[in-house]
Subunit: 254 residues, 2 copies
DNA sequence: CGCACTATTGATATTTTTCAAAGGAAGTGG
DNA sequence: CCACTTCCTTTGAAAAATATCAATAGTGCG
């Protein structure tokens, strides 16, 4: 804890990047915008940066903005009275944070890694949503995708074994990373784990010990190799998919 | 039901009910419509009826319509290659079925009880969505609600005990029923279970034996009484909420 | 009445959690 | 530079929860 940690996210505004040069331009809520729309967004957007571990919002508190994740990873989580927690959303670059029309956050939002958000104050964004069908349509589509992803997660939490859960998680990370790179997940791919074992456990509905044990088991069986604690090499991606228990074809064509 | 069983859903068009008299008028995707919108919907809608157990759609198959559930209960479920299944959505009256912009169903859709759908062919409905911000806005709001509900379910599947799962399920059914009646869940309420133990197990990520045992345990402990196999009386609703592990205040004000 | 389906209950097996200890890696201050 | 602290991770042993296998009991219907 030197000086950096005492800087609040509010005071930390990185330089504006023009939307046209944005790394998430073709995946985020602004993906279907045309030049005029982008000008309007450019005028109202601002950046916020969080360090790994920082709280972005607390359940029950007002959140004055909605945002796109530009870089880094954020987690949405719910906590029960006795302290059990479940992560209910993992926001990767291009994902949308916040609910238009409801300023009070339903979840705790945490920066799982260093995080850069492209923010919009609620009011202007909601006005824009009302007036611009390209943006509202895109947001509907993204929300429907989020719902499908949540439903896939229901299957994981309800029916998969601990080993399958770990494998599924790695597959998802690899697929998301590939999608952002506009590529296919390859053999020999290296997957970064932007989460501690504990955060993985919260996401997978397991304990951190079980996560650790199952990662060790996948390593023993040659499904993965560890490159440090936070990076995983996958020699045979199809093998990993098989271990995840999912259809090898990955479901619907998108 | 004598002759009815041989009639396929397609051939079975109940008489049209004017939207203005519809029991789900103020909760469904059409909730925010004005008179002119309703005329347009009235002109294109048609009803379909399914019997308990019938398949509405299969994962991977085209679905030519989207729909609102008018009466009855439908389930969305996913099945793994080895047969494990997880229900990922429970559609109660006023819920929306189908994804605009994607004709291929991602899930198996089953009528869990006798079911009445108010259907719209895809093309006209998608045109309407594009041209009518009241409908598209309402659909976005409903989808965000679905996403919140799915996330609450993630907590249930990931972190709750079998007993808490059963209690939570009963609470949800009671709340949904009360919402449709525009009332609060009361003490002494009777909750209809429109599902077999097996369907409940599929929804809760349990086996049917565990469901049966936990229902018996809740009965033994006086939390519920069984009225027949498919109806449950709740003498003390707060007690049930406590057993569900949720905050007693039920989260956000809506 | 008896069949088919659904639900309950019991005994055992399996999986995952819990409790406990210890091993690394990174940063801090002497 | 090194000892020290802290955080994260791994591993082991025992306990708990739930699944599985198996038998029995209601329920509704032809």
């Amino acid at each position: 804890m030197t000086q950096v940690k005492s800087i609040t996210p509010e005071t930390c505004h990185p330089m504006q990047v023009p939307c046209a040069d944005c790394p998430i331009r073709y995946r985020a809520v602004c993906a279907t915008c045309e030049a005029g729309d982008l000008d309007r967004l450019d005028a109202t957007k601002y950046y916020r940066r969080y360090q790994a571990g920082q709280t972005v919002a607390l359940a029950g508190e007002r959140m004055e903005f909605v945002a796109s994740v530009v870089t880094g990873v954020a987690g949405l989580s719910q906590t029960m009275e006795d302290g059990r927690t479940q992560m209910v959303g993992l926001l990767l670059p291009s994902d949308f944070l916040g609910r238009p029309g409801r300023a009070v956050s339903a979840y705790d939002v945490t920066a799982l890694s260093d995080l850069l958000l492209c923010c919009f104050r609620r009011k202007p964004f909601e006005d824009l949503l009302r007036s611009n069908p390209r943006i509202s349509g895109r947001l509907l589509d993204m929300t429907l995708d989020d719902l499908d992803a949540a439903r896939e997660w229901l299957l994981l939490l309800g029916r998969k074994s601990a080993r399958e859960k770990i494998a599924s998680f790695l597959v998802i990370l690899a697929r998301r990373h590939a999608a952002l790179m506009q590529a296919e997940p390859e053999n020999g791919i290296e997957i970064e784990l932007p989460l501690t074992r504990e955060a993985m456990a919260d996401y997978l509905g397991l304990t951190l010990e079980t996560v650790s044990r199952q990662i060790s088991a996948l390593k023993r069986d040659g499904v993965i190799r560890l490159v440090g604690k936070r990076q995983v090499a996958v020699p045979d991606f199809n093998r990993l998919v098989t271990e995840s228990g999912d259809d090898s074809d990955g479901g619907l064509p998108i």
